[in-house]
Symmetry: C2
């Protein structure tokens, strides 16, 4: 299928009515937030296939696993912060992972509202199966870039993250 519209002659690339001035162009195809969303969606799909299809995990559950794989012992709040998830998302992911036996929890003696969470042996086993798979895909995708470009991208990402955070603070 081609990207054409309904077969009429294309007059201009933006809205115009009765000689009024048109707004500054917005082209979806070059609009940064759109391009970023599409790329991110495609990359996420490619990665989530690996843990969703084979291990029946959601993205949230995978993030919890990944956080605990890295840090061994964490409270729910620590996981939330570390993985950019809301506390309810963590709470639900944790309860499903507990049921599935992929994680375990122990009382936190110092604060009994909170629990220390960790991967179970089964969780560790699954974590170890998934990690090489997702790293291989990451590697494949990044193989599109040279070493120099990769460094450039890291630096660009950091700048964009900061600027976006700045914007969100401003409201």
């Amino acid at each position: 299928m081609s990207g054409k519209t309904d077969g009429r002659v294309r007059r201009s690339n933006s809205v115009q009515a009765a000689g009024e001035p048109s707004p500054k162009d917005l082209k979806l195809a070059t609009f940064f937030p759109y391009r970023l969303a599409v790329l991110s969606f495609d990359v996420s799909q490619t990665i989530s296939q690996l843990y969703a299809d084979r291990f029946n995990l959601t993205r949230q559950e995978w993030r919890v696993l990944a956080a605990l794989g890295e840090n061994k012992h964490m409270s729910a709040a620590a996981i939330a912060e570390y993985s950019t998830l809301e506390k309810m998302q963590v709470s639900r992911a944790v309860s499903k992972l507990l049921k599935a036996g992929l994680i375990a929890r122990e009382e936190n003696i110092r604060d009994r509202r909170s629990h220390s969470l960790r991967l179970s042996d089964k969780g560790v086993a699954i974590y170890r199966k998934i990690v090489p798979l997702v790293l291989a895909r990451e590697k494949f995708i990044l193989s599109a870039l040279s070493e120099r470009e990769r460094k450039e991208m890291d630096s660009i990402f950091a700048k964009l993250v900061n600027k976006t955070r700045e914007m969100r603070k401003m409201g």
Copy 2:
């Protein structure tokens, strides 16, 4: 895919049990798909505020508006392709936008299964209010980068999009 990412030699600060080898490190904070997802989410939030809060539009509805703002007349299928939405998403967005009076449709004489869609005057008015707002935010975020970095990023994005598409074709 090359499954050679085993990393048996590496010992690290992540999961270790009973002297077994740990997998090659996965750090969420430096994992490309994760960083991309977080950045994309933050940027999307910043943009969607503008059309969600003030104009009560969903992301899908906004994309349909944007597509029609650019191309004036399109069929539902053309919008779907142009805006990376599924046909059902377009169908639902279109029916809400029709009800809200932001778009209009005409019969397509050559194929009566399909309709030609366009912005209504009201739709044009809203589109023209939104466009400067989102462009201003895009500009603000991109102001984090120099002209050189912006070009670099365009080129990096294109490469990543292609590579990801290649990967998805492979399954």
